[in-house]
């Protein structure tokens, strides 16, 4: 579980290292590269609450 959390936090930053190679391999523009970095952080932030809420529903049986 710790490894999982570590991996998903590492994934936010580790892609920065690969950006030059990604640009070469996929011929991406600068804006594309920004989206590669941000797409992860954005969906992570967006679904964090949804993910938490979906388990609360079962746990506390609070869904109406």
């Amino acid at each position: 579980m710790c490894l999982g959390t570590f991996m998903l936090l590492l994934d936010i930053t580790i892609v920065t290292v690969a950006l030059p190679d990604i640009q070469r391999a996929l011929h991406s523009s600068f804006a594309d590269l920004q989206w590669v970095v941000d797409a992860y952080a954005l969906t992570l932030a967006a679904f964090l609450l949804t993910g938490a809420a979906s388990r609360t529903c079962t746990a506390a049986a609070c869904c109406t």
């Binding site: 998903l8 996929l26 991406s28 954005l42 969906t43 979906s54 079962t58």
Partner: protein, 247 residues
């Protein structure tokens, strides 16, 4: 809806699958979408793992499980700080090295063209002034970048700076070198390496620099010009100019 364990496994599968998709991405859009999916999976894992820990541990154990343990907290902060700094440092060094390498390449193209023109041609001087001002605009360079450009270790570069081969632009708070001197030395090192001479590089570069400085002296250049014009005034060799001291 789902149990926590099942939800955690769903998150793990989504995260792992999306990571694999990222690896196999053939276009930027596919990579971006996979990264988005990865984020969604990560969000589920992140949210549920905390709930699972809270469910499994109680009392003081829960604090330890959440990593609210002083030693672990210090270690974790050091790790995060260290990895972020190292990562950022490596990226900026690579970017700076690439930028300066391309600057050096462009300057060398200009210099090559300039050298094809005769020495008394005004265009030659103008071209060399352009390359010189391009280097002057850059100003200073970090020893670590200079080391990469010269193909030497950072320690060697610092030693050369201390020996005066590379011009020091700033000594504190951190050592910065003059870009023009690094470029001049990169020429010499490249020539010496091409000639297969890799030993005693410092001595040889120093000797060449002294020769170049001698050529820059106006009196020598004048007398060379006069010689070329056939006026026959030869500069006396340095050794006979200053006779050895008698003891």
């Amino acid at each position: 809806m789902y149990g926590r364990r099942v939800l955690y496994l769903i998150g793990l599968v989504v995260f792992t699958g999306a990571s694999a998709l990222c690896g196999f991405a053939t276009s930027t859009l596919m990579l971006q979408l996979s990264r988005g999916l990865q984020g969604a999976g990560a969000a589920v894992i992140f949210a549920v793992s905390l709930a699972l820990l809270a469910n499994a541990f109680h009392g003081q154990d829960r604090g330890v499980a959440f990593g609210d343990n002083r030693h672990w907290r210090v270690l974790r902060n050091c790790l995060i700080l260290g990895s972020v700094t190292a990562e950022g440092g490596a990226v900026t060094i690579a970017v700076e090295e690439r930028r300066l390498r391309s600057l050096f390449e462009r300057v060398e193209v200009v210099e090559d063209v300039a050298r094809t023109l005769p020495e008394d041609d005004e265009r030659r001087a103008r071209l060399l002034a352009v390359s010189d001002s391009a280097l002057a605009e850059e100003g200073t360079i970090r020893p670590v970048i200079a080391a990469r450009l010269l193909g030497l270790s950072e320690k060697t570069v610092r030693a050369w700076a201390a020996a005066g081969v590379l011009t020091v632009a700033q000594r504190s708070p951190r050592l910065l070198l003059d870009v023009r001197s690094v470029h001049a030395v990169s020429h010499l090192v490249g020539e010496l390496r091409a000639a297969g001479q890799d030993r005693d590089l410092l001595d040889q570069v120093w000797r060449r620099l002294e020769d170049a400085a001698l050529l820059d002296r106006e009196d020598l250049r004048d007398s060379l010009d006069q010689m070329r014009r056939g006026e026959g005034r030869v500069l006396r060799p340095v050794s006979s100019a200053s006779p050895p001291e008698s003891r």
